[in-house]
């Protein structure tokens, strides 16, 4: 019915905007502003970090995207992030990533671990950056992140041309220093230019950051198995509490 690795059906081209739709009305804007003032929006205010990095589709590693994570911490071992395709106010929400410490990751069963990716290379290569934060301030956190594992579901495949979120969620994997895990130079250059940074230079500054001595063999599943994962949505018997539909 719908698969993360299947090209979705056609949609009318519209004016090409992503997503399509009429501009916001003044009335809507006022209602929104009113709500924003009245309501406390606590989980949103808890977001404390913006990270810019890259991710790769598990089912097609030739497709690599720049990602913007807005992260909140629930405890020393667990972070949750909303992922967007840019850092601008017009950014599209493209998925969610969870990050856990090595300790927590090791408690997961193998079949679960296969859905997760390591962060060591991403951090030590300078690919993961926290725009605006001096490297020295960020260093202690980067040390921990370098030993963490992530699980990232992408729900909007904008790079494929989807103007609205179509299909099943896609599993993403992290950049690695080998093979198809290597992010294309032009993607990195473009990002670096925007933030006036050099990933290479950051990588050098991060040479003293230790990664996991031995990456759990189930993480980064593609590296050992040469396989990725796709998600299918299939019809099934609904366990029901009538009436449905």
């Amino acid at each position: 019915m719908a698969s993360s690795d299947e090209t979705p059906g056609a949609m009318p081209p519209g004016d090409g905007s992503v997503p399509p739709g009429k501009p916001m009305t003044v009335g809507q804007y006022l209602v929104d502003k009113g709500a924003q003032i009245t309501q406390s929006l606590k989980p949103i205010k808890k977001m404390s970090m913006h990270a810019c990095s890259f991710a790769i589709y598990s089912h097609d590693m030739s497709r690599q995207i720049q990602t913007h994570h807005y992260i909140s911490r629930l405890n020393q071992d667990f972070l949750q992030s909303a992922v967007y395709d840019s850092d601008e106010s017009t950014a599209r929400l493209i998925g969610v990533e969870y990050i856990v410490s090595e300790q927590i990751f090791n408690t997961l069963p193998p079949e679960e671990q296969r859905l997760w990716h390591s962060h060591g290379y991403e951090i030590t290569s300078g690919m993961w950056v926290n725009p605006g934060v001096p490297e020295m301030i960020q260093k202690p956190e980067l040390r921990e992140l370098a030993r963490s594992f992530g699980k990232f579901w992408c729900t909007w495949q904008i790079d494929r041309g989807d103007r609205v979120p179509l299909g099943a969620p896609a599993l993403m994997v992290s950049p690695q220093g080998v093979n198809k895990g290597m992010v294309k130079a032009e993607l990195i250059e473009k990002r670096d230019k925007k933030y006036e940074i050099s990933s290479d230079e950051l990588g050098r500054k991060r040479e003293d950051i230790a990664v996991c001595e031995m990456i759990n063999p189930h993480a980064d599943y593609w590296m050992n198995a040469g396989k990725g994962f796709a998600i299918d949505v299939e019809p099934t018997q609904m366990e029901s509490k009538p009436p449905f539909p």
């Binding site: 019915m1 719908a2 059906g9 056609a10 997503p19 739709g21 009429k22 916001m24 809507q28 209602v31 709500a35 924003q36 009245t38 309501q39 929006l41 606590k42 989980p43 949103i44 404390s48 970090m49 913006h50 089912h59 097609d60 590693m61 807005y70 911490r73 629930l74 405890n75 020393q76 667990f78 992030s81 601008e88 106010s89 599209r92 969870y98 997961l108 934060v133 202690p140 609205v164 179509l166 299909g167 099943a168 969620p169 093979n179 198809k180 593609w222 050992n224 040469g226 990725g228 998600i231 299918d232 949505v233 299939e234 019809p235 099934t236 018997q237 609904m238 366990e239 509490k241 539909p245």
Partner: protein
Amino acid sequence: MEGTHPEIPGHPTHTSTALLEKATATIQGFAPINQIHNHLCAFHFYAHDMTRQVEAHHFCAHQNEEFRQCLIYDRPDDDGRLIGLEYIVSETLFLTLPDEEKKLWHSHEFEVKSGVLFMPGVAGPIQRQDLEKVCKTYGKVIHFWQVDKGDTLPLGLPQVMMSLTRDGQLYDNLAHDVESRYNVSFAKERENRAYMKGPDNGIHPMANGGGQGLKTVLREVDCKPVESVPRIFV
């Protein structure tokens, strides 16, 4: 289903980490997040199992008049768990979706008109200005964390979720729990919202799973591009 939820495994946040993150929160820009303008409370159930129902706190932003994107938490607190997301589109946009895609989306008419979907803390007349639009929209919800199962971590596959479409679906205890916590009355709101209308073309027959259950399945695929990834990595 209860008001309490289990702790997430792990150590309490170190003071040094908390301080560092206080700093980053001040220094960095959060433009996409600053677009989030309201909090909506509603219920979802699993597209393959409507006996499993989850209270869902949506934090929503507009991309334009016809498209919203929402983060979903299990509770609207500092320690709320990010359990999923929802996209909401106008009827016009929904009708442009390929048919197979429509099945993954659900209608909002019943949720809104029944009073069950509401904006905590916002006065009725103001809420209703927005909700009369929401009434005509369709949503696509994916949950990543099955908190109702007692999972202390976001395990397993993403889950397509659906929304209430008729009376009798929502468990009474869940409804009463929310009503008492937020001091609202769904019945009263239902009266206030009687004037609202659903989609102009009626609820599309392919929405809400096309009337069927939906489940997600994991499939292994060859790494693409195949020739570039050795099967045995030395």
